[in-house]
Protein backbone atom coordinates (compact mmCIF):
# COMPACT_ATOMS: atom_id res chain seq x y z
CA UNK A 1 0.00 0.00 0.00
CA UNK A 2 1.30 3.52 -0.75
CA UNK A 3 2.10 5.47 2.39
CA UNK A 4 1.30 9.15 2.84
CA UNK A 5 4.39 11.26 3.56
CA UNK A 6 5.34 14.91 3.70
CA UNK A 7 4.19 16.57 0.50
CA UNK A 8 2.85 13.20 -0.64
CA UNK A 9 -0.86 12.97 -1.16
CA UNK A 10 -2.33 9.53 -1.75
CA UNK A 11 -6.04 9.00 -2.29
CA UNK A 12 -7.77 6.48 -0.04
CA UNK A 13 -8.50 3.14 -1.70
CA UNK A 14 -9.25 2.89 -5.40
CA UNK A 15 -9.66 6.52 -6.53
CA UNK A 16 -12.50 5.89 -9.01
CA UNK A 17 -13.57 8.29 -11.73
CA UNK A 18 -15.14 11.72 -12.23
CA UNK A 19 -16.54 13.43 -15.28
CA UNK A 20 -14.06 14.74 -17.85
CA UNK A 21 -14.51 17.86 -20.00
CA UNK A 22 -16.17 15.84 -22.75
CA UNK A 23 -18.60 14.07 -20.44
CA UNK A 24 -16.73 10.76 -20.29
CA UNK A 25 -15.45 9.31 -17.03
CA UNK A 26 -11.82 9.99 -16.10
CA UNK A 27 -9.67 8.57 -13.29
CA UNK A 28 -8.98 10.70 -10.23
CA UNK A 29 -5.33 11.85 -10.45
CA UNK A 30 -3.44 13.95 -7.92
CA UNK A 31 -1.96 17.05 -9.57
CA UNK A 32 -1.26 19.75 -6.98
CA UNK A 33 -2.27 21.44 -3.75
CA UNK A 34 -4.46 24.51 -4.21
CA UNK A 35 -5.07 25.67 -0.67
CA UNK A 36 -3.79 25.09 2.88
CA UNK A 37 -6.02 25.95 5.84
CA UNK A 38 -4.56 25.77 9.35
CA UNK A 39 -6.73 24.45 12.16
CA UNK A 40 -8.26 27.15 14.34
CA UNK A 41 -7.20 25.36 17.52
CA UNK A 42 -4.32 22.93 16.95
CA UNK A 43 -1.00 24.22 15.51
CA UNK A 44 -0.08 20.76 14.17
CA UNK A 45 -3.32 20.28 12.24
CA UNK A 46 -3.72 21.66 8.75
CA UNK A 47 -6.11 20.92 5.90
CA UNK A 48 -5.13 20.78 2.21
CA UNK A 49 -7.46 21.15 -0.74
CA UNK A 50 -6.04 19.47 -3.82
CA UNK A 51 -6.58 18.84 -7.52
CA UNK A 52 -8.15 16.44 -8.54
CA UNK A 53 -10.60 17.49 -5.88
CA UNK A 54 -10.08 15.99 -2.46
CA UNK A 55 -9.54 17.14 1.11
CA UNK A 56 -6.50 16.01 3.11
CA UNK A 57 -5.59 16.60 6.74
CA UNK A 58 -2.28 16.50 8.53
CA UNK A 59 -2.17 16.25 12.32
CA UNK A 60 1.63 16.24 12.56
CA UNK A 61 2.50 19.63 11.13
CA UNK A 62 2.51 18.46 7.51
CA UNK A 63 4.77 15.43 7.92
CA UNK A 64 2.04 13.12 6.69
CA UNK A 65 -1.29 13.64 4.99
CA UNK A 66 -4.45 11.56 5.10
CA UNK A 67 -7.49 11.98 2.94
CA UNK A 68 -10.94 12.73 4.37
CA UNK A 69 -12.31 10.46 1.69
CA UNK A 70 -15.95 10.71 2.70
CA UNK A 71 -16.05 13.83 0.52
CA UNK A 72 -14.71 12.27 -2.66
CA UNK A 73 -16.77 9.16 -2.02
CA UNK A 74 -19.97 11.21 -2.09
CA UNK A 75 -22.50 9.63 -4.46
CA UNK A 76 -22.28 12.66 -6.76
CA UNK A 77 -18.48 12.23 -7.22
CA UNK A 78 -18.77 10.68 -10.71
CA UNK A 79 -20.68 13.84 -11.80
CA UNK A 80 -18.00 16.31 -10.67
CA UNK A 81 -16.12 17.90 -13.55
CA UNK A 82 -13.14 20.22 -13.94
CA UNK A 83 -13.34 23.89 -14.75
CA UNK A 84 -10.73 25.26 -17.13
CA UNK A 85 -8.39 25.62 -14.16
CA UNK A 86 -8.73 21.94 -13.33
CA UNK A 87 -10.93 20.09 -10.85
CA UNK A 88 -9.65 21.74 -7.73
CA UNK A 89 -10.74 21.92 -4.11
CA UNK A 90 -9.77 25.54 -3.52
CA UNK A 91 -11.77 26.76 -0.53
CA UNK A 92 -11.78 25.41 3.02
CA UNK A 93 -13.75 27.29 5.67
CA UNK A 94 -13.63 26.09 9.29
CA UNK A 95 -16.50 26.96 11.64
CA UNK A 96 -15.10 28.53 14.83
CA UNK A 97 -18.31 27.74 16.73
CA UNK A 98 -18.48 24.08 15.73
CA UNK A 99 -15.27 22.05 15.28
CA UNK A 100 -17.22 19.29 13.51
CA UNK A 101 -18.38 21.62 10.74
CA UNK A 102 -16.28 22.38 7.63
CA UNK A 103 -17.29 24.02 4.36
CA UNK A 104 -15.39 23.37 1.15
CA UNK A 105 -15.81 24.38 -2.48
CA UNK A 106 -14.78 22.62 -5.68
CA UNK A 107 -14.63 23.85 -9.27
CA UNK A 108 -16.81 22.67 -10.80
CA UNK A 109 -18.80 20.60 -8.37
CA UNK A 110 -19.96 23.28 -5.96
CA UNK A 111 -20.01 23.73 -2.19
CA UNK A 112 -20.18 20.94 0.39
CA UNK A 113 -20.51 20.80 4.17
CA UNK A 114 -19.65 18.26 6.81
CA UNK A 115 -21.17 18.32 10.30
CA UNK A 116 -19.25 15.33 11.63
CA UNK A 117 -15.62 16.39 11.27
CA UNK A 118 -15.26 15.25 7.68
CA UNK A 119 -16.70 11.73 7.76
CA UNK A 120 -19.79 12.54 5.69
CA UNK A 121 -20.57 15.43 3.38
CA UNK A 122 -23.51 16.88 1.55
CA UNK A 123 -23.78 19.35 -1.32
CA UNK A 124 -25.04 22.80 -0.25
CA UNK A 125 -25.90 24.37 -3.59
CA UNK A 126 -29.65 25.07 -3.30
CA UNK A 127 -30.41 28.50 -4.74
CA UNK A 128 -27.38 28.57 -7.05
CA UNK A 129 -28.22 29.01 -10.70
CA UNK A 130 -25.61 28.37 -13.41
CA UNK A 131 -26.86 29.00 -16.92
CA UNK A 132 -23.83 27.38 -18.54
CA UNK A 133 -24.56 23.85 -17.29
CA UNK A 134 -27.26 21.54 -18.65
CA UNK A 135 -29.43 21.76 -15.53
CA UNK A 136 -28.92 25.29 -14.14
CA UNK A 137 -30.17 24.32 -10.66
CA UNK A 138 -28.48 20.91 -10.43
CA UNK A 139 -27.40 19.54 -7.06
CA UNK A 140 -23.75 19.61 -8.20
CA UNK A 141 -21.81 21.04 -11.14
CA UNK A 142 -21.65 24.70 -10.08
CA UNK A 143 -18.39 26.57 -10.49
CA UNK A 144 -18.02 28.13 -7.05
CA UNK A 145 -14.98 30.41 -6.98
CA UNK A 146 -14.68 31.37 -3.32
CA UNK A 147 -16.60 31.36 -0.02
CA UNK A 148 -16.05 33.71 2.94
CA UNK A 149 -17.36 33.58 6.50
CA UNK A 150 -17.06 36.09 9.35
CA UNK A 151 -16.04 34.23 12.53
CA UNK A 152 -18.64 36.06 14.61
CA UNK A 153 -21.48 34.95 12.32
CA UNK A 154 -20.62 31.44 11.15
CA UNK A 155 -24.04 30.65 9.67
CA UNK A 156 -23.73 33.49 7.15
CA UNK A 157 -21.64 32.72 4.09
CA UNK A 158 -20.79 34.86 1.10
CA UNK A 159 -19.88 33.28 -2.23
CA UNK A 160 -18.34 34.53 -5.44
CA UNK A 161 -19.53 32.10 -8.07
CA UNK A 162 -18.45 31.80 -11.72
CA UNK A 163 -21.20 34.34 -12.27
CA UNK A 164 -23.22 35.80 -9.33
CA UNK A 165 -22.36 36.89 -5.81
CA UNK A 166 -24.45 34.82 -3.40
CA UNK A 167 -25.33 34.84 0.30
CA UNK A 168 -26.54 32.17 2.70
CA UNK A 169 -27.85 32.78 6.21
CA UNK A 170 -28.39 29.13 7.07
CA UNK A 171 -24.90 27.66 6.77
CA UNK A 172 -25.29 26.97 3.08
CA UNK A 173 -28.67 25.20 3.19
CA UNK A 174 -29.98 27.86 0.80
CA UNK A 175 -28.47 30.74 -1.15
CA UNK A 176 -29.79 33.95 -2.66
CA UNK A 177 -28.15 36.36 -5.04
CA UNK A 178 -26.75 39.67 -3.74
CA UNK A 179 -24.96 40.90 -6.88
CA UNK A 180 -27.12 44.06 -6.88
CA UNK A 181 -25.52 46.97 -8.75
CA UNK A 182 -22.11 45.35 -9.46
CA UNK A 183 -20.84 46.21 -12.97
CA UNK A 184 -20.16 42.49 -13.45
CA UNK A 185 -20.93 39.68 -11.04
CA UNK A 186 -18.13 37.52 -12.42
CA UNK A 187 -14.98 37.39 -10.29
CA UNK A 188 -12.81 35.25 -8.09
CA UNK A 189 -12.09 36.52 -4.54
CA UNK A 190 -14.55 37.56 -1.86
CA UNK A 191 -13.65 38.66 1.66
CA UNK A 192 -15.21 40.18 4.76
CA UNK A 193 -14.20 43.14 6.95
CA UNK A 194 -12.57 41.95 10.18
CA UNK A 195 -15.00 43.83 12.45
CA UNK A 196 -18.11 44.33 10.33
CA UNK A 197 -19.74 41.04 9.27
CA UNK A 198 -21.92 42.85 6.71
CA UNK A 199 -19.04 44.62 4.96
CA UNK A 200 -17.81 42.51 2.07
CA UNK A 201 -15.37 43.00 -0.79
CA UNK A 202 -15.24 41.65 -4.35
CA UNK A 203 -13.25 42.51 -7.48
CA UNK A 204 -15.52 42.31 -10.55
CA UNK A 205 -14.00 40.89 -13.72
CA UNK A 206 -15.58 41.48 -17.11
CA UNK A 207 -16.56 37.93 -18.01
CA UNK A 208 -15.54 34.29 -18.03
CA UNK A 209 -13.68 34.79 -21.29
CA UNK A 210 -12.26 38.24 -20.46
CA UNK A 211 -10.41 38.00 -17.19
CA UNK A 212 -9.81 41.71 -16.61
CA UNK A 213 -11.72 44.52 -14.88
CA UNK A 214 -14.60 46.15 -16.80
CA UNK A 215 -13.40 49.19 -18.82
CA UNK A 216 -9.78 48.49 -17.83
CA UNK A 217 -10.44 50.12 -14.42
CA UNK A 218 -9.25 48.17 -11.38
CA UNK A 219 -12.02 48.63 -8.85
CA UNK A 220 -12.73 46.87 -5.59
CA UNK A 221 -16.43 46.88 -4.73
CA UNK A 222 -17.53 47.11 -1.11
CA UNK A 223 -20.96 46.41 0.28
CA UNK A 224 -21.74 47.60 3.79
CA UNK A 225 -25.16 45.98 3.67
CA UNK A 226 -24.20 42.33 3.26
CA UNK A 227 -24.65 42.55 -0.48
CA UNK A 228 -27.03 44.10 -3.04
CA UNK A 229 -25.77 47.68 -2.56
CA UNK A 230 -22.17 48.10 -3.69
CA UNK A 231 -19.83 51.10 -3.84
CA UNK A 232 -16.76 51.28 -6.06
CA UNK A 233 -13.39 51.83 -4.42
CA UNK A 234 -10.90 53.41 -6.79
CA UNK A 235 -8.57 55.79 -4.93
CA UNK A 236 -5.00 54.70 -5.61
CA UNK A 237 -5.99 51.96 -8.05
CA UNK A 238 -5.27 52.23 -11.80
CA UNK A 239 -8.33 53.63 -13.58
CA UNK A 240 -7.29 53.14 -17.19
CA UNK A 241 -5.71 50.43 -19.33
CA UNK A 242 -5.52 47.91 -16.50
CA UNK A 243 -5.99 44.33 -17.66
CA UNK A 244 -5.00 42.23 -14.65
CA UNK A 245 -7.04 39.65 -12.80
CA UNK A 246 -7.29 39.03 -9.06
CA UNK A 247 -7.28 35.32 -8.26
CA UNK A 248 -9.50 33.64 -5.68
CA UNK A 249 -6.90 33.29 -2.92
CA UNK A 250 -5.29 36.67 -3.52
CA UNK A 251 -7.32 38.84 -1.13
CA UNK A 252 -7.00 39.11 2.64
CA UNK A 253 -7.90 41.34 5.57
CA UNK A 254 -5.96 42.08 8.76
CA UNK A 255 -7.32 42.36 12.29
CA UNK A 256 -6.43 46.01 12.89
CA UNK A 257 -8.95 48.78 13.45
CA UNK A 258 -9.61 50.25 10.96
CA UNK A 259 -9.42 47.04 8.99
CA UNK A 260 -6.64 46.63 6.42
CA UNK A 261 -7.50 45.04 3.08
CA UNK A 262 -4.96 43.54 0.68
CA UNK A 263 -5.06 41.96 -2.76
CA UNK A 264 -2.59 40.79 -5.38
CA UNK A 265 -2.94 40.76 -9.16
CA UNK A 266 -1.88 38.54 -12.02
CA UNK A 267 0.30 41.51 -13.08
CA UNK A 268 2.42 41.11 -9.96
CA UNK A 269 1.24 44.06 -7.88
CA UNK A 270 0.03 43.81 -4.29
CA UNK A 271 -2.26 46.64 -3.22
CA UNK A 272 -3.07 47.52 0.39
CA UNK A 273 -5.65 49.73 2.04
CA UNK A 274 -5.20 50.73 5.67
CA UNK A 275 -8.70 52.21 5.88
CA UNK A 276 -11.08 49.41 4.92
CA UNK A 277 -10.78 50.12 1.20
CA UNK A 278 -11.20 53.90 1.00
CA UNK A 279 -7.60 54.48 -0.15
CA UNK A 280 -5.16 52.08 -1.81
CA UNK A 281 -1.46 51.98 -2.60
CA UNK A 282 0.71 49.29 -4.09
CA UNK A 283 3.13 47.86 -1.56
CA UNK A 284 4.86 45.45 -3.97
CA UNK A 285 5.11 45.38 -7.74
CA UNK A 286 6.78 43.35 -10.50
CA UNK A 287 6.17 39.99 -8.85
CA UNK A 288 5.06 36.99 -10.87
CA UNK A 289 1.28 36.53 -10.97
CA UNK A 290 0.09 36.65 -7.36
CA UNK A 291 -1.71 33.43 -6.45
CA UNK A 292 -2.21 33.98 -2.75
CA UNK A 293 -2.16 36.81 -0.22
CA UNK A 294 -2.11 36.12 3.51
CA UNK A 295 -1.86 38.67 6.30
CA UNK A 296 -0.36 38.24 9.71
CA UNK A 297 -0.97 40.96 12.28
CA UNK A 298 1.98 41.16 14.66
CA UNK A 299 1.42 42.19 18.27
Amino acid sequence: MPKAESNKFVYDGVPGTHQWYDGTQHPWEFKRVWHLEPSLTDPDTVYAGVEDAALFRSTDGGKSWHELSGLRDHETGPKWQPGAGGMCLHTIVLDPSNPERIFIAISAAGAFRTDDGGKTWRPINRGLRSEHIPDPTAEVGHCVHRIAMHPKRPNTLFMQKHWDVMRSDDAGDSWHEVSGNLPSDFGFPIDIHAHEPDTIYVVPIKSDSEHFPPDGKLRVYRSRTGGNKWEELTKGLPQSDCYVNVLRDAMAVDSLDPCGVYFGTTGGQVYASADAGDNWAHIVRDLPAVLSVEVQTLP
Binding site: Y21, G23, P82, H132, F188, H211
Partner: protein, 98 residues
Protein backbone atom coordinates in the same frame (compact mmCIF):
# COMPACT_ATOMS: atom_id res chain seq x y z
CA UNK B 1 -37.09 26.61 -36.53
CA UNK B 2 -34.36 25.05 -34.44
CA UNK B 3 -33.40 26.79 -31.21
CA UNK B 4 -29.70 26.75 -30.35
CA UNK B 5 -27.99 27.84 -27.14
CA UNK B 6 -24.31 28.66 -27.49
CA UNK B 7 -21.78 28.95 -24.65
CA UNK B 8 -20.91 32.50 -23.62
CA UNK B 9 -17.58 32.65 -25.49
CA UNK B 10 -19.16 31.61 -28.77
CA UNK B 11 -22.07 34.03 -28.33
CA UNK B 12 -19.49 36.81 -28.19
CA UNK B 13 -17.74 35.49 -31.27
CA UNK B 14 -21.03 35.21 -33.13
CA UNK B 15 -22.20 38.57 -31.75
CA UNK B 16 -25.52 37.21 -30.51
CA UNK B 17 -27.36 37.37 -27.21
CA UNK B 18 -29.43 34.51 -25.87
CA UNK B 19 -30.83 31.85 -28.18
CA UNK B 20 -30.28 31.54 -31.91
CA UNK B 21 -33.11 30.36 -34.16
CA UNK B 22 -32.24 28.91 -37.56
CA UNK B 23 -33.95 26.91 -40.27
CA UNK B 24 -32.65 23.34 -40.60
CA UNK B 25 -33.80 20.99 -43.34
CA UNK B 26 -34.84 17.48 -42.24
CA UNK B 27 -33.43 15.21 -41.04
CA UNK B 28 -32.48 17.20 -37.96
CA UNK B 29 -29.18 15.82 -36.66
CA UNK B 30 -26.08 17.21 -34.97
CA UNK B 31 -24.51 17.42 -38.43
CA UNK B 32 -27.36 19.29 -40.12
CA UNK B 33 -27.74 21.68 -37.19
CA UNK B 34 -24.02 22.50 -37.18
CA UNK B 35 -23.96 22.81 -40.97
CA UNK B 36 -26.77 25.36 -40.81
CA UNK B 37 -25.23 27.13 -37.82
CA UNK B 38 -21.87 27.50 -39.58
CA UNK B 39 -23.57 28.72 -42.75
CA UNK B 40 -25.39 31.43 -40.80
CA UNK B 41 -22.44 32.24 -38.54
CA UNK B 42 -19.24 31.50 -40.49
CA UNK B 43 -17.11 32.80 -37.63
CA UNK B 44 -18.08 29.70 -35.68
CA UNK B 45 -16.42 27.35 -38.18
CA UNK B 46 -13.70 25.37 -36.48
CA UNK B 47 -14.80 26.28 -32.97
CA UNK B 48 -17.39 23.58 -32.31
CA UNK B 49 -15.97 20.88 -34.58
CA UNK B 50 -12.74 20.42 -36.49
CA UNK B 51 -13.05 22.00 -39.93
CA UNK B 52 -11.35 19.08 -41.68
CA UNK B 53 -12.44 15.97 -39.78
CA UNK B 54 -15.81 17.44 -38.66
CA UNK B 55 -15.20 15.86 -35.24
CA UNK B 56 -16.61 17.58 -32.17
CA UNK B 57 -14.00 19.56 -30.22
CA UNK B 58 -13.08 17.73 -27.02
CA UNK B 59 -14.14 20.61 -24.74
CA UNK B 60 -17.55 21.04 -26.37
CA UNK B 61 -20.61 18.98 -25.49
CA UNK B 62 -24.11 18.70 -26.93
CA UNK B 63 -27.31 18.28 -24.92
CA UNK B 64 -30.83 17.59 -26.16
CA UNK B 65 -33.83 17.38 -23.82
CA UNK B 66 -31.52 17.17 -20.80
CA UNK B 67 -29.52 14.29 -22.26
CA UNK B 68 -25.83 14.37 -23.14
CA UNK B 69 -25.73 13.36 -26.79
CA UNK B 70 -22.09 14.34 -27.38
CA UNK B 71 -21.05 10.77 -28.01
CA UNK B 72 -23.92 9.79 -30.30
CA UNK B 73 -23.08 9.38 -34.01
CA UNK B 74 -23.50 12.91 -35.42
CA UNK B 75 -25.96 11.82 -38.09
CA UNK B 76 -28.41 10.30 -35.57
CA UNK B 77 -31.85 11.92 -35.81
CA UNK B 78 -32.56 14.15 -32.83
CA UNK B 79 -35.78 14.07 -30.77
CA UNK B 80 -38.91 15.71 -32.22
CA UNK B 81 -38.77 18.32 -29.45
CA UNK B 82 -35.52 19.61 -30.95
CA UNK B 83 -36.81 19.39 -34.54
CA UNK B 84 -39.96 21.36 -33.67
CA UNK B 85 -38.16 23.94 -31.56
CA UNK B 86 -39.97 22.94 -28.37
CA UNK B 87 -36.57 22.33 -26.75
CA UNK B 88 -33.23 24.02 -27.58
CA UNK B 89 -30.15 22.24 -28.86
CA UNK B 90 -27.67 23.06 -26.10
CA UNK B 91 -23.99 23.48 -26.98
CA UNK B 92 -21.95 23.57 -23.79
CA UNK B 93 -18.33 24.56 -23.34
CA UNK B 94 -15.99 23.50 -20.57
CA UNK B 95 -16.28 26.01 -17.75
CA UNK B 96 -13.59 28.65 -18.13
CA UNK B 97 -11.82 30.17 -15.22
CA UNK B 98 -13.06 27.80 -12.55
Amino acid sequence: MIRILLPHHLRQLARVNGEIEIQVEAPVTQTTILDALETNFPMLRGTIRDQVTQERRALVRFFACGEDISHQPPKTSLPDAIATGAEPFFIMGAIAGG
